[in-house]
C-alpha cells in the first residue's frame, strides 16, 4: 500500500500533493489488487481541490457509494473510472446526492455549488480517471448539422427519449427522462457516461462533433412552433386523443344524466 502506484507530479505544494496521492493511492489499492497503475491522471488542477472533493464525498456520497467510491452491490454503483463528466452530470442535474435509492433518480434542484461539484469531480477523477467535463464551447449547438443530429437522434436516442425528447417509460419503474431542461453540457455528459440505464455512446462511436449535432437537434426542437392544439409535453397524439376522449366522455355522461333526470313537477 504505497503511493508508488500513482504517477508523481514534480511541482505544486509538496505536502498537499503527498496527502492527495496517499488518499488516492490508498483508496485505489484498497479496491483493486494491484493491477495496472495508470489510473488517477489528475487533469483537474490542484490537489487541494481533490482533498476538498474527498471531504464532500465523505459527507454526501460515501454512505451509499462506500468510503472509497467502490459502490455497494444492489444499492449504488462503483464510481472508479466513471470520470468527472459523470459526477458533473449527476450532481448538476440534482440527481445526486440522492435522498434514497429509487428505480430512477429524478431531476431535482442542485444541492452543491459549482465549485463543490468541480472539487467532487476532481476527487472522483483521481480515483480512476474517466471522461472529463466538456467545455461549453465544445458542445455549443450553433453552427452544428441539425439534419445529421436528427438522423442520429432518431437512430439511437428517440426509442427511449421520444422523437421530440419528451422522455418515456422503461421497465420496472425506470424511465428515460425528458430532455427539455438538460443543458448542452449535461446532454454531452450523459451520452459520454451513460447514466443509470442509459447506454454509453463513447467518443469513438459517436464523435464529439456528432454529439454536438445531436445536441443541436435537441435544442432546436424546443423552439419548434406548435401547429395548433395543446402540446401536452409533445408526447404525441395518443395523449391528446386520450384527453379529448376522457373529456368528451365526461361531457356525454353529464348530458345523459341531464336528459334522463326525473322531472321535478308532480302530476295528478
Amino acid at each position: 500500500m504505497s503511493p508508488t502506484t500513482v504517477r508523481r507530479r514534480p511541482l505544486a505544494g509538496y505536502a498537499v500533493v503527498l496527502l492527495g496521492l496517499v488518499a488516492a493511492g490508498l483508496s485505489y489499492a484498497a479496491i483493486t489488487d494491484g493491477g495496472d497503475a495508470s489510473a488517477a491522471s489528475h487533469s483537474v488542477a490542484g490537489q487541494a481541490q481533490v482533498a476538498e472533493g474527498r471531504a464532500i464525498f465523505l459527507q454526501e456520497c460515501a454512505s451509499c457509494h462506500g468510503l472509497f467510491g467502490q459502490g455497494v452491490s444492489g444499492i449504488a454503483p462503483d464510481l472508479i473510472g466513471v470520470g468527472a463528466a459523470a459526477v458533473d452530470f449527476q450532481v448538476s442535474t440534482g440527481r445526486m446526492p440522492a435522498k434514497e435509492p429509487e428505480a430512477e433518480m429524478p431531476r431535482r434542484p442542485v444541492m452543491l455549488t459549482r465549485q463543490q461539484i468541480r472539487a467532487l469531480a476532481a476527487y472522483i477523477e483521481s480515483l480512476g480517471g474517466g471522461p472529463g467535463i466538456p467545455s461549453k464551447a465544445a458542445v455549443a449547438p450553433y453552427g452544428a448539422n441539425y439534419g445529421l443530429g436528427q438522423q442520429l437522434f432518431t437512430a439511437d436516442c428517440a426509442q427511449c427519449h421520444n422523437f421530440q425528447g419528451a422522455g418515456g417509460a422503461l421497465t420496472y419503474g425506470k424511465y428515460a427522462p425528458p430532455l427539455t431542461k438538460s443543458t448542452p453540457v449535461q446532454i454531452f455528459e450523459a451520452m459520454l457516461t451513460g447514466p443509470e440505464a442509459m447506454p454509453v455512446f463513447n467518443n469513438t462511436t459517436i464523435t464529439p462533433q456528432q454529439k454536438r449535432d445531436i445536441i443541436a437537434y435537441i435544442v432546436q426542437t424546443r423552439s419548434e412552433p406548435n401547429p395548433g392544439g395543446f402540446s401536452l409535453g409533445r408526447v404525441g397524439p395518443v395523449t391528446e386523443g386520450l384527453v379529448v376522449f376522457l373529456g368528451l366522455l365526461l361531457f356525454m355522461v353529464l348530458a345523459a344524466l341531464w336528459i334522463t333526470a326525473k322531472h321535478r313537477k308532480a302530476h295528478e
Binding site: 418515456g168 421497465t171 463513447n202 395548433g228 313537477k265 308532480a266
Partner: protein, 380 residues
C-alpha cells in the same frame, strides 16, 4: 291479413298500429277538417284525441291517457321561449354554415384552417342548439306519463302458416322446377362459376411472399454501418461496456424496404457478462460466441412479436424493451424473452471482423427476423 287473426282480440292490433283501413278513413276525414289548426304530420283535429290511432274508425271507447296541457303553465311558457330561442340559434348557425361555405375560399393552407373552423363550429352549434331545444321540449313541455302498449306475438297465426306452405308448394309445382331436372341442374351450374369468382379474385391481393420473409439483405462480408453517420465500426472504437448503437448493412442505409427487416443493434458488454455457447448455432438462452466479436453482440432490432423496433436497451439490467407491447429480452442470454407477448428471442446476427478490422456480417440471420409466421421453420 289482420282480419284472419283468430284467438286474438282485434283491439290488440288496432290500438297499437291503427290498422290498414285507417288511411282511407283519415284522408276522407281530412277533407272538411283541414282548417286552421292542422299541423303537418298529425292526425286531423277531429281525430286528434290520441296519437296512437283509434279503434278502427269506431267512436273512442276509452278515457284519454295523456294530459292535454302541462301542469305548470307559466313554466311551460318559459320553456317554450327557451326552446324557440334554441331553434332560432340553430337556424342562424345553419345559415352561418351555408354563409361560411361561400365566404371562406380554400386556396391556401391558412384559409383552409379558417374555413374548417367556421364550418365546424357553425354546424356543431346548429346540431347542439337543436338537440338542447329538443331535450328541453321533451322534459318541460311533454307529459311524463308511463304507458303500456300491447304487443302482437311474433309468431304468425296457424292459418297464415298453413296458407304459406300451401302457396309455396303450389308455386314450386307450377314453376316446373321439380318436374324438369335439366332446367334445375343447368341453373345451379350457371351460378357456380359466378360464386367461385370472388374467391379467384383474392389472387389480386398480391403474389405469395415465397421465401422473402426468411431472408434479409445481410450477407457475408457486408460492413455494419453506424446508422445516421453511416460510418463503419471497429471493435476498438465501440469499446465502452454499456454501449449500444443502431447499425445498418453497408449500401442499404437509404433503402427503407431493406432496413425494415435488416435493422440491427449492437451492444458492447463487459467481459464475463455474457452467457456464451461456443457452438456455431443458437442455443436458447445463450449467445453464440463465434458470432460475437470482443463481447460485442448484434441482435435484430425488429421485435419478434409484431415487428416494432425493439431498441430500448438498459445497460444496467441488459434488458432490451420493445415499446409497443413491453416485450422484454435479456441481451446477455441470447435475447431470451423474459417478459411480454413475444414468443421467441431476437435473432442474433453472426458477426466477425474483416481484413481492415471493421465489423462485418458472417452471413445473413440464420432464422427469419420479425413476427413469426406459420412456415417459419424449426428454429426456436
Amino acid at each position: 291479413m289482420s282480419d284472419s287473426t283468430a284467438g286474438q282480440r282485434p283491439g290488440d292490433y288496432d290500438e297499437a298500429h291503427g290498422g290498414p283501413d285507417e288511411v282511407p278513413a283519415e284522408s276522407a276525414a281530412a277533407g272538411p277538417d283541414s282548417g286552421r289548426h292542422r299541423v303537418i304530420g298529425t292526425p286531423p283535429p277531429a281525430r286528434a284525441h290520441s296519437l296512437l290511432g283509434d279503434a278502427g274508425g269506431q267512436p273512442p271507447a276509452r278515457p284519454r291517457e295523456l294530459p292535454s296541457d302541462p301542469d305548470d303553465l307559466p313554466g311551460a311558457r318559459r320553456a317554450e321561449r327557451i326552446v324557440v330561442a334554441c331553434f332560432l340559434i340553430a337556424m342562424l348557425a345553419g345559415l352561418g354554415f351555408l354563409a361560411s361555405y361561400f365566404i371562406f375560399n380554400v386556396h391556401t393552407v391558412s384559409n383552409v384552417l379558417y374555413s374548417n373552423l367556421a364550418l365546424g363550429s357553425t354546424l356543431g352549434l346548429a346540431f347542439l342548439a337543436m338537440a338542447v331545444g329538443a331535450v328541453i321540449w321533451v322534459r318541460r313541455l311533454m307529459p311524463d306519463v308511463e304507458l303500456t302498449e300491447a304487443r302482437k306475438p311474433l309468431r304468425s297465426a296457424p292459418e297464415d302458416r298453413a296458407a304459406f306452405a300451401e302457396t309455396f308448394a303450389e308455386g314450386a309445382d307450377a314453376s316446373q322446377f321439380v318436374k324438369r331436372p335439366m332446367l334445375r341442374r343447368t341453373l345451379i351450374a350457371a351460378t357456380v362459376p359466378v360464386a367461385v369468382a370472388p374467391i379467384v379474385l383474392l389472387r389480386d391481393l398480391g403474389p405469395l411472399p415465397g421465401t422473402k420473409l426468411d431472408h434479409t439483405v445481410w450477407r457475408k462480408g457486408l460492413k455494419l454501418l453506424n446508422y445516421g453517420a453511416n460510418t463503419p465500426i471497429r471493435p476498438g472504437d465501440f469499446s465502452s461496456p454499456g454501449g449500444m448503437i443502431t447499425v445498418v448493412p453497408d449500401g442499404y442505409q437509404d433503402n427503407f424496404d431493406a432496413l425494415a427487416k435488416a435493422a440491427v443493434i449492437i451492444i458492447k458488454f463487459a467481459p464475463g457478462q455474457v452467457d456464451y455457447t461456443s457452438e456455431d448455432h443458437p442455443v436458447p438462452g445463450k449467445v453464440v460466441r463465434n458470432w460475437s466479436v470482443d463481447n460485442i453482440v448484434a441482435y435484430s432490432k425488429i421485435c419478434t412479436h409484431v415487428g416494432c423496433p425493439a431498441a430500448l436497451y438498459e445497460q444496467t439490467t441488459h434488458h432490451i424493451l420493445c415499446p409497443c407491447h413491453q416485450s422484454t429480452f435479456d441481451a446477455t442470454r441470447g435475447a431470451k424473452v423474459i417478459f411480454g407477448p413475444a414468443t421467441r428471442p431476437l435473432p442474433q446476427l453472426p458477426m466477425t471482423v474483416d481484413a481492415q478490422g471493421y465489423l462485418v456480417a458472417r452471413s445473413d440471420f440464420t432464422e427469419p427476423v420479425g413476427p413469426s409466421f406459420w412456415e417459419r421453420g424449426p428454429s426456436t
